[in-house]
């Protein structure tokens, strides 16, 4: 973005609030909106499309005001046609554009799976890199919002299983912006899952306590203008010695809250991107702590935790002092009632931590 545009952006920035230190604080929606706004400004090939993203600004407001500002050729509504949306985005990408389609909920990405798996993920390989599909599919995912089986799923491992796709999951406003910019600039198809439960505030998993806002969280400080966080770099949420906890998305905050609450000296890694995975950071931490726990909301069988567990076992076996623990969603559809019995919350995480410490 040019300096002039930068200044304009700063001057009329309606996003977020400035705190006492003059830092700009954004929630996750605002940070994502900011990233999209900046990329529309910087790169004329960036195009945003999806159900209700234009005129309405997105059901979660992630694309609010972008059509007003950048016009209908850059930000536009599509019919409810996920297969078509993703397929068209692949074609646009092959021709040199950089589409950022939104799939309204991750649960609605399945009609577009064929286009993602057979086309987006495979175009580079089968054309020997003559053509690529540099699209970024943004989609809110995960539970904790009483959404039942069609508004709560965590389907990330379906995508990590597909060679040729990248999968990114931010857990803070600061990361959401930097990772989204990196994803859009990336020349591969990226699935960008946004944990919707933490759009407006970090979630501790203690669902009966008052909701928190991002304003008091260190990582809601989001610098103005362009910056990127490279894909494939984990973030150390806190250092610790007693165990390594591998998490991403909402569960980063839940794991952190439990460790704090139970006074456990856990080292928590926010993976940030599942593919590419920062395996070096994982190894380094597990070698240090000798214990490893994996937390995700997704169902257990063939979940990403299974892959992580295998990798840790292969690479850190001689450092492990106890069996690896996995805390995950149950192998059932996401329920309509009993959400908190299903959600891998503080009780289950706490028990697993205790078990690891004893082990």
């Amino acid at each position: 973005m040019s300096d002039v545009a930068d200044k304009q952006q700063g001057a009329k920035s309606r996003k977020g609030t400035k705190d006492a230190d003059g830092d700009r604080r954004l929630n996750m929606i605002e940070a994502i909106n900011d990233a999209l706004d900046i990329m529309l400004e910087r790169d004329p090939d960036v195009i945003i499309m999806g159900e209700d993203v234009g005129y309405f600004g997105g059901v979660f407001r992630a694309t609010a005001h972008l059509q007003e500002k950048h016009g209908k050729t850059r930000v536009f509504d599509t019919p409810i046609s996920e297969c078509g949306i993703i397929g068209v985005a692949v074609g646009m990408g092959a021709y040199g554009l950089r589409p950022v389609p939104e799939i309204q909920f991750a649960d609605y990405i399945y009609p577009g799976l064929d286009q993602l798996i057979s086309e987006a993920a495979r175009l580079r390989y089968r054309s020997a890199a003559e053509y690529i599909a540099p699209l970024t599919v943004r989609s809110p995912f995960g539970g904790g919002i009483f959404g039942g089986q069609t508004h709560s799923q965590s389907p990330e491992s379906i995508f990590t299983h597909v060679a040729g796709l990248k999968t990114v999951i931010p857990s803070t406003p600061h990361d959401a912006k930097g990772l989204l910019i990196a994803a859009i600039e990336d020349n591969d198809p990226v699935i960008f899952f946004e944990p919707k439960r933490i759009y407006n505030g970090p979630f501790s998993g203690y669902y009966d306590r008052p909701v928190q806002s991002w304003a008091k969280h260190a990582d809601s400080v989001v610098p103005e203008g362009y910056y990127r966080i490279p894909l494939g770099k984990a973030r150390t949420v806190r250092e610790g010695t007693q165990m390594t906890v591998l998490a991403y998305g909402t569960m980063v905050h839940v794991a952190e809250a439990v460790a704090r609450e139970k006074n456990i000296d856990a080292e928590i890694l926010d993976l940030r991107t599942l593919v590419p995975l920062d395996i070096k950071a994982v190894e380094k931490s597990v070698e240090k702590t000798g214990k490893c726990m994996i937390v995700h909301e997704a169902t257990r069988t063939s979940g990403f935790g299974a892959e992580l567990s295998a990798l840790v076992q292969e690479r850190c076996f001689y450092h492990l002092e106890a069996p690896i623990e996995r805390v995950t969603g149950f192998d059932t559809p996401y329920p309509h009632s009993l959400e908190w019995a299903y959600f891998p919350g503080p009780i289950r995480i706490g028990e697993a931590m205790d078990k690891l410490l004893e082990g």
């Binding site: 209700d52 009609p111 508004h151 309509h336 009993l338």
Partner: protein
Amino acid sequence: MANAKAEKTAANANANPAEDDFSLRSLQEAHQDKPRFDASEEQMLDFYRQMLLIRRFEEKAGQLYGLGLIGGFCHLYIGQEAVAIGLQSALDNDRDSVITGYRDHGHMLAYGIDPKVIMAELTGRAAGISKGKGGSMHMFSTEHKFYGGHGIVGAQVALGGGLALAHQYNDDGGLCLAYFGDGAANQGQVYETMNMASLWNLPIVFVVENNQYAMGTAVNRSSAETEFYRRGTAFRIPGMDVNGMDVLEVRGAAEIAFDHVRQGGGPVLMECNTYRYRGHSMSDPAKYRTREEVQGYRDTKDPIEAIKKTLMEKGKSEDDLKAIDKDIRKIVAEAADFAENSPEPEAAELYTDVLVGEY
């Protein structure tokens, strides 16, 4: 099925464009010749009662949602009552099947299913018709051959094709009524199904409930052809354009369409033009349309007011009709009490019904 296929092919073989054109429009012409069903006073009272039950039920559901007793997503049918009642009152409930999307409370109530078990499903209680496991969007009744309530936009249409194929295969004389929205009409699988239905001459009536909006998107912003009844033409499926705000017109159209299907004429595509008064779901700020537009429908096109007027012209007194309303309010209040006070499912229910048997 083999026979039906052969007949269909034969019909195609000596296709004459003028005749085709006529047969594609013949149902619509029959409907235009006599748009309204000749209902007896008793039938009209029934329609009034049933539509009013839906209206009052939905108003109550809206209140319970506001009180936090219904979680997640809840889509009200207010304004569209004449569609479900007009169509379903013409079904042969011993033989015919129905399938719809997530805006399904009205279609359930149209069967005379106890409002208690429907409301208890909305509140996610064990006594709900899907044991609290489906919620507002996912309700079923094998007893009535009602195949649900489906949350994924458009998916139910293909299932409807399968139900119709099963009717044909079993030679049970039944037909399938498959509802979907104007937004759902843009999903590719809808057209895959239309093609198969016509190719195999299946007994199915596709019904587009065109309520003018798909969430925040008005039909003309998402659909190249907004006259949805024309969309079957490419598959040689006759279309009908029906005033969905008049229960007698809908019923009249249903008679014609069902008759055509039962005589082996193959699928019909019926568009019912209607309007939803409330937001898309409960969290809809409804900024995409004016208050005047909504009020205009309420004041001049309301389906319940319309039948009320006809009944009063026939000599019913205001008091007679008020007494009915009073009864209905009582039934709905009891349903709400029941839904509020019956217990949640046992936690063990999380693991039942995932696969057959123990899991």
